[in-house]
Amino acid sequence: MKRYQIHITGKQGIFDPAGAASKNALLTLGYEGLEDLRIGKFIELSCADDVSPAQVEEMCAKLLANPVIEDFRIEEIVGNTEVA
């Protein structure tokens, strides 16, 4: 069993209204010095060992992310730890 973590984020320059609203809320709460806050998606994928990283990349490019507005980053999780 292989595990992958996929991070999908908006491309630079794409307005992220939810991120902007959350950032403003934090500023209102007094957290100064906050420069940028962007909200993306986090996907965990478990798959058979013979699923290659290239295939996971293809899954991202084809369906999980929209290359017009989003970038993605794939991490393979080794062992049982949460963070690679």
């Binding site: 794409i14 307005f15 209204p17 939810a18 369906l63 929209n66 017009v68």
Partner: protein
């Protein structure tokens, strides 16, 4: 819907048929995805206008020989992941792509527009509304000079259609925007009631350049966020009817040109409405089609 009632709408329905010199045999296919919720409205509007309409289920690949296709609004596949992202891979979409590639008219309304962008049949993407709110209201739209086959109103005309969406904030990169401008692919812009467009401020959803509707380079594939089907039967207005009627006028003109061409060439009548006939005003732009949308 109000079929069978005796109110004004029904009388107008009758008038519409009388004022049309003939009842059209144009046949629209209306796609139904799990979560589509405007498909019945579209069928109602089309039948009201005197056209044939039938549903095309998302997992069939046979489009039933229809002349034009409608991808209706709704929340296909729950809008999970991104609006239209999953619907794009429905079995029917391969047929839709082939249908569009053959030059037949395809319109995507609201969620249908989102599906067309996800499928790569139209450039760009629909983002969440700038102010994070679902917007349901009537909007003024300015008709732009475009190659779109779904509209034949004079550029600069105004129409009023309702919108109802949470993700209608059109976006594309600058290069794409410039190319669409140059090729006449921007079809409708949100405008103020006085008809003025003020680049970005007239769109209630934050759409780039106030864009409400775009088409592909060939002009046969059209996507828009407003709902023409909701103002087609005269009860709330009639502006939406223009779009369906314009597509039918083009189809009929093309069929006429095609059949007279066939009579000359083969002595028989080819009643098809295939694209690429001599009578089509958009033949010139078809050859310029690139694989970029």
């Amino acid at each position: 819907m109000t079929d069978g009632s005796t109110q004004v709408g029904n009388m107008r329905n009758g008038n519409t048929h009388v004022s049309n010199t003939h009842v059209s045999s144009t046949h629209f296919g209306v796609l139904s995805f799990p979560g589509s919720n405007c498909d019945q409205d579209v069928v109602h509007a089309l039948e009201h206008l005197g056209y044939q309409a039938s549903y095309v289920w998302h997992n069939q690949t046979d489009l039933g020989g229809c002349d034009a296709l409608v991808l209706p609004g709704g929340f296909s596949y729950g809008d999970y992941l991104r609006c239209g992202a999953i619907a794009r891979f429905s079995p029917v979409m391969e047929s839709v792509k082939a249908f569009a590639a053959a030059g037949h008219p395809v319109i995507g309304i609201c969620n249908g527009f989102q599906i067309l962008t996800e499928a790569g049949l139209l450039p760009g993407v629909l983002l969440q509304n700038r102010d994070l709110k679902f917007i349901c209201q009537s909007v003024h739209l300015r008709v732009e000079a475009s190659v779109c086959q779904w509209i034949d109103l004079e550029p600069g005309s105004m129409i009023e259609l309702p919108i109802a969406h949470g993700e209608g904030n059109y976006y594309c990169d600058e290069l794409t925007l410039g190319r669409m401008e140059a090729k006449g692919q921007i079809v409708l812009r949100y405008c103020r009631p006085d008809g003025l467009v003020s680049m970005g401020s007239a769109a209630p959803n934050g759409s780039l350049d106030d864009i409400a509707g775009i088409c592909n380079e060939r002009g046969n594939v059209f996507g828009l966020m407003p709902h023409p089907e909701r103002v087609s039967d005269g009860l709330n207005g009639r502006d939406g009817a223009y779009l369906f009627q314009a597509a039918v006028r083009r189809l009929e003109a093309r069929a006429l040109a095609s059949s007279s061409g066939s009579v000359n060439a083969q002595g028989g009548i080819e009643g098809g409405t295939d694209g690429g006939t001599e009578g089509d005003a958009h033949v010139g732009s078809q050859s310029e089609e690139q694989a970029n949308v």
